[in-house]
Subunit: 480 residues, 2 copies
Amino acid sequence: MTLDTISNCQLQCPEWCFHALKKGDSDQEEIVPSKKSAILVDGVVLNGPTTDAKAGEKFVEEACRLIMEEVVLKATDVNEKVCEWRPPEQLKQLVDLELRDKGEPHHRLLELCQDVIHYSVKTNHPRFFNQLYAGLDYYALVARFMTEALNPSIYTYEVSPVFLLVEEAILKKMIEFVGWKEGDGIFNPGGSVSNMYAIHLARYKYFPEIKEKGLSGLPRLIFFTSAECHYSMKKAASFLGIGTENVCFVETDGRGRMIPAELEKQIWQARKQLLDYIKANVFIAREGMALVPCCVPAQPSPDTCFLKRLSFTLQDDVEVIMGAAPFLVCATSGTTVLGAFDPLDEIADICERHDLWLHVDASWGGSALMSRKHRTLLHGIHRKYFWFAYKKSKPERFILIAASCAYAQTCYELKSKVQCSPKVAPAIKERMMKKGSLMLGYQPHRGKVNFFRQVVISPQVSREDMDFLLDEIDLLGKDM
Amino acid sequence: MTLDTISNCQLQCPEWCFHALKKGDSDQEEIVPSKKSAILVDGVVLNGPTTDAKAGEKFVEEACRLIMEEVVLKATDVNEKVCEWRPPEQLKQLVDLELRDKGEPHHRLLELCQDVIHYSVKTNHPRFFNQLYAGLDYYALVARFMTEALNPSIYTYEVSPVFLLVEEAILKKMIEFVGWKEGDGIFNPGGSVSNMYAIHLARYKYFPEIKEKGLSGLPRLIFFTSAECHYSMKKAASFLGIGTENVCFVETDGRGRMIPAELEKQIWQARKQLLDYIKANVFIAREGMALVPCCVPAQPSPDTCFLKRLSFTLQDDVEVIMGAAPFLVCATSGTTVLGAFDPLDEIADICERHDLWLHVDASWGGSALMSRKHRTLLHGIHRKYFWFAYKKSKPERFILIAASCAYAQTCYELKSKVQCSPKVAPAIKERMMKKGSLMLGYQPHRGKVNFFRQVVISPQVSREDMDFLLDEIDLLGKDM
């Protein structure tokens, strides 16, 4: 097949395809091209493939070598910079970002790959402490490469037989870690989505009709979570139509853990408000809505006016109670800022007493279940409702990271001792970025001014890197 | 560092870290280990790194070679099988899925990689027509490998300088394709999430208070979409608390395109119902709710009773109109089953007349914008609200796939001519899977029985593969 044969064949689609495929239709024979002839449609050869396989294969091979050399082999090299910092306008000049219609030759694409790697932050660097995705697990990386190359989607056994069985095997192991005899689960793209799913599930459990009817015209639904919870709780409340004002934040102790007595106090307050509404007879007619309470007990009390009555038998004149209906408590195992673990056992007791769904956001601290020493931090997690949200988007090899807990503890102890002005951390961070020697985040917390928040999760990190971190901060801030 | 030095050092965390890092504290000197000594916590060496870099690098190198040989190089080889079908119980015996506490040696892990690849469906095979993710784009694969190795998260310029600029450049190009002078966008993990975001945005535009207050106690919100829309529309309505019954499906023509006249009829019906509610004075008191209409026009008519009044000035005695408030039309550019493109220009006219948000689900057919010939299918897309949802999770190189449109046309023409029993397609599919020669899906559609649904998107596909598909179906079903 040459370009000549292509340009000699100018039949337009869809005619060519239709006739070519009808094959047996003798009336059309004079315009039926032979099976092998090439067709040009919109400048694209339809006899395809539309891609040059040999060139493509060569490119993948060369690019893989580059990735191996520039990312994987350098991942443990502390002599490399964590980042090659450039301000946006300068970086736009250094990396060719323009998308041209004609495409680029291979050597230019390879140079571009090189540039992308060069100016990207090295999250695999032992001294990248900035976020929770620090570090390189070689075995997980291979699993991710393999997943990208095979490009499966775990819809059904038919299209993804192996990965479906892998999913099943990992969930079985996770369920063992949690301490259940049986259970089920799904893998989510992250903690935010996991939290959203959990709230959605809890809502469905207590108010299944919301799926079809929606929330409109219903009493407010409220849920409880720690004041130190992840920001995705409010995002989920907005997204799910619950409303951010209907997230009730429970006060925490000095270490950032939810105070169970405060939780129970808030639940009683909500139940009392619901009762007051009933007593005041604030009822609302709602047409065609199945999910409503339909009568008031003769002697309403906080014990009788609660959630369960929302599933009472329907009557013709249905009524909606104004007030707020609690349905869920979201505990956190590993809070974002302080890494605190809520006391799950005590919270589970409260949820049982009030018939509330218990969800545990273990996106951060769930891996502690794999540590013999630290799994007690999640004691009581087996009591949550058949649901375990764990951040894992693709089948990856598990790695034991109990060490992180010990390191994290260090930072907490240190942080509580250090006092400085709110401007010190940002100024040190700026110098750090320009030097490229280290990366870690900072933030204020309640009454406390900006402090550094070090994430220690990378398998590349050594105790020397921990020492370096303190020395480097000291060095960078010496003149302040 | 040897195992002996490690086991000689049995200090428990967090004490070791705290003291080791306090360095200057002379009271504690006798238990302060030197900077370089190793610590064993929970069986893990804290002097780290906790991973064997040399072994890991070797494994990545060998596994990459395997992926290159077994996936990338075989992607264009039609002599390979599309799938090596095994029933679940048999596959569990063939692939070692057990997660052992001790981990596996490298050669076993490599064998496992080999098994995973061997028994996985080859979605890159030229004769995989089963789903929309068919085919291998070599350049996109490199981008995905690079993204996995660098492992960025595009939070801020600080942690992801290059990818943030790449995102900006691709969005700029997409906005050009749509035909806007300016605009913005985000990359989503898929079409379902894009649709959900769009509905969420539209709701926020008309009823911003829902973010804080939620939907409870409000009138029903409804939106319109084609009867042939993606199933994620109903899923989004459930998730967002709108309710699946509040998705109004608009009838389509014989080719699966939304009928604009039917859309407008349904919108008028909804407005009439809202008016009837107002006339019947069905008002509901709602405390503390800002988002409510507070008065009824002296002469309510469909023109005055509509959406905009929901933002009327608040008074003390606020009232809620029962009835349904339309806020959004979701058009589809490329429906799931028939690949139909809704007439965007006419739908945009209707949305303008009724002040409704227009969202276009172009997850399937959006790439037609890159074809000179087929971009007319999306004529009118520039009129949608500042919002373009396009399925793209990671920076990838664009590839022109105009050819798909012509192929798809063929299938439609053919399908409308072929008649068979509902059991024929599943029976042929079963034989196809066992033989592993080809993969394509089937499904019924409204009055029509099961028919094959061929997805032609892979750059590996040739016209010979198209011919093969028809011959092979013929061969497999010869005796039926």
